[in-house]
């Protein structure tokens, strides 16, 4: 689920990073009024709980050999409220990126939006709308199930949109979308069942935890709910409409126009204005000209020279790395003071 750097283009990665950073800054500012210093340890430890919870696996029915685990984002959103949960889950994603290298550094923006903001806000508000005040009745459980399912599905829709806007992958958008939503439908159902079961357990053992909001009360103002849903509808709607217009020709629009190669014949032309704008943005902000591949039989000489340059590049680099390693090895052998932390 974690997006990697390589599946995103620089404008998409940078844009989402700026959005995620800005929103996170706003949330932190807002949360400061609610969260006292006594709650800081609690939030940190509940973040660590997510890591531990993801280790607790269970066998899935009908699919022998596979096991599932909980994601936990919606559980935190329900218990902590959306603002605190957004901060906690974002911090979890940052640590997953930095310590466990899951997801890329520049893809952090995408990952935080997909996996922290969406479950925290969409999940929380869906739950609050569907669930009644008191716990342990059918309505609450349906609310939790809905929150988990739709939270995870939204995230599953966002991943193909981001990847397709970047244009790195060749998978047609519709195929990618169907696969992602299909797989995450199952994930969402399992997540919903487990979240309901865990909430029921906590309700039975420590009703005080679920009853009072641990990180300050969040008033459910209609405006906030509407704004949250409006933002996500706009994002998803805009992304989908943008992609739908080019669905028949997959991703080939990205080489419809080559400003750097005047003789380039467009393979597919798509005159949608939105797409040309994005294309222009992409060719403007990518640091280097894309696509130096020449088709068959064209200009043998220049191709050979490119071949030799890249050959020299690869072998020069490998030799350099070998030399660096060798020098380091020799230096280290002469200097036995190696400290290895265990």
């Amino acid at each position: 689920m974690h997006m990697a750097n390589e599946l995103l283009s620089l404008p998409v990665a940078g844009g989402t990073l700026v959005i995620a950073g800005g929103v996170l800054g706003l949330i932190c500012k807002k949360a400061k009024q609610v969260i006292t210093s006594e709650k800081l340890a609690l939030m940190g430890i509940l973040g660590a709980f997510i890591f531990a919870a993801q280790m607790v696996n269970f066998r899935l029915p009908a699919m022998p050999g596979t096991s599932g685990h909980m994601v936990g984002a919606v559980l935190l959103a329900i218990i902590l409220g959306p603002h605190a949960a957004a901060i906690v889950i974002s911090s979890v994603i940052i640590v997953q990126c930095l310590i466990f290298q899951d997801g890329g550094l520049l893809a952090l923006g995408c990952n935080i939006i997909n996996m922290a903001f969406v479950p925290a806000y969409v999940g929380y508000y869906l739950y609050r709308i569907a669930a009644a005040r008191s716990f342990s009745n059918l309505r609450t459980y349906i609310g939790v199930m809905l929150a988990c399912l739709i939270g995870i599905e939204t995230c599953a829709v966002l991943v193909p949109i981001e990847a397709t806007l970047s244009g790195v992958l060749m998978v047609p958008f519709s195929t990618f979308l169907i696969t992602m939503t299909g797989v995450h439908f199952l994930v969402g159902i399992v997540e919903g069942i487990v979240t309901v079961a865990v909430l029921a357990y906590i309700q039975q053992v420590r009703p005080d935890i679920v009853a009072d909001n641990l990180c300050g009360k969040v008033r459910l103002s209609k405006r906030a709910v509407l704004a949250t849903f409006a933002v996500f509808t706009i994002i998803i709607g805009a992304g989908l409409s943008l992609l739908a217009s080019r669905m028949p020709d997959g991703l080939e629009w990205s080489y419809a126009e080559r400003p750097d190669q005047p003789n380039f014949k467009p393979i597919v032309s798509n005159n949608d204005s939105r797409i040309t704008v994005i294309d222009r943005l992409q060719s403007k902000y990518s640091l280097m000209p894309d696509y130096s591949v020449r088709s068959n039989g064209e200009n043998e000489n220049s191709q050979a020279s490119v071949g030799w340059t890249s050959f020299a590049g690869v072998f020069g680099s490998i030799t350099t790395m070998a030399v660096i390693w060798l020098i380091a090895w020799i230096l280290r052998r002469n200097n036995p003071r190696t400290i290895i932390a265990q």
């Binding site: 990697a4 973040g47 531990a52 919870a53 029915p61 060749m170 894309d290």
Partner: protein
């Protein structure tokens, strides 16, 4: 218990480890941005980019076996998506590589480029994290303008991840010792949710105790640290090397691509 966490090498000592966290962080971000903005079908140039993080890893005395094992561990998602490229783009191209020239498709070139970029950016990220202590990285990030609340949150999170993972492992071991046959999904979920629930309650109780202890010592929402972050001459040297590396590779790449 043993944890396969990546930053155990951050506690070594080397010229790279002594660099300022901010300098290393910014360098990694710039490097990653440059690598992902490389053309989507070029593979050879990635080898040249790999020299940078490779040199940092070797100078920082990080075992390469460990690095590559870790990259392999986190690669499945990227690998699956990269391997789907050859299925969808079958435009034939001829590439020349040194003395040989061969026929392939754009899809395969994209696939190789994605995997290559993945390895190179991973090398850079591992070079950052395994040569920088997380606490120093957090102080650096705080000075770069990351909200204080988030920094404190990350600090607490990092401190307690391994404590709670230990607890989870104890619980898992207890379950494994008591489960002798396949129980069916209903029972599985019941057990797992009880485990998760008790883990959750235990985490909240731990947090309360920690909070009381910290309040007793005068914690008021900010950490007081003896910050040792200072840009020294070594950092300038590293910065110059980094700039020369990136800029010269840029011109080299442009000359190859045109």
């Amino acid at each position: 218990m043993h944890h396969a966490h990546i930053d155990k090498f951050a506690y070594q000592d080397s010229p790279i480890h002594r660099l300022d966290a901010r300098v290393k962080f910014i360098a990694t971000v710039i490097f990653t941005a440059v690598v992902i903005s490389l053309p989507r079908t070029s593979f050879a140039i990635l080898f040249c980019y790999a020299i940078g993080p490779f040199a940092v890893l070797v100078l920082g005395r990080i075992p390469l076996k460990f690095v590559f094992k870790h990259i392999l561990l986190v690669s499945p998602f990227v690998l699956i998506l990269a391997l789907s490229c050859p299925l969808y783009d079958k435009t034939p191209v001829k590439i020349a590589f040194g003395p040989s020239a061969f026929q392939t498709t754009v899809g395969w070139m994209r696939c190789c480029a994605i995997c290559g970029k993945f390895v190179v950016t991973m090398l850079a990220l591992i070079a950052l994290v395994s040569t920088t202590r997380f606490s120093n990285l957090l102080v650096g990030l705080g000075k770069l303008g990351v909200p204080k609340l988030l920094i404190i949150q990350l600090g607490f999170l990092y401190r307690y991840i391994f404590v709670l993972i230990d607890t989870a492992q104890h619980i898992l071991q207890a379950r494994a010792g008591r489960t002798l046959r396949n129980l069916g999904f209903n029972q599985e979920i019941k057990t797992a949710s009880a485990m998760l629930g008790s883990l959750f309650i235990r985490s909240i109780d731990t947090a309360e105790q920690i909070n009381i202890a910290m309040q007793g010592r005068g914690f008021n929402g900010s950490w007081r640290t003896i910050s040792r972050l200072k840009i020294s001459s070594n950092d300038y040297i590293f910065g110059v090397f980094f700039a020369v590396f990136v800029i010269s590779l840029y011109f080299f790449a442009v000359s190859i691509l045109n």
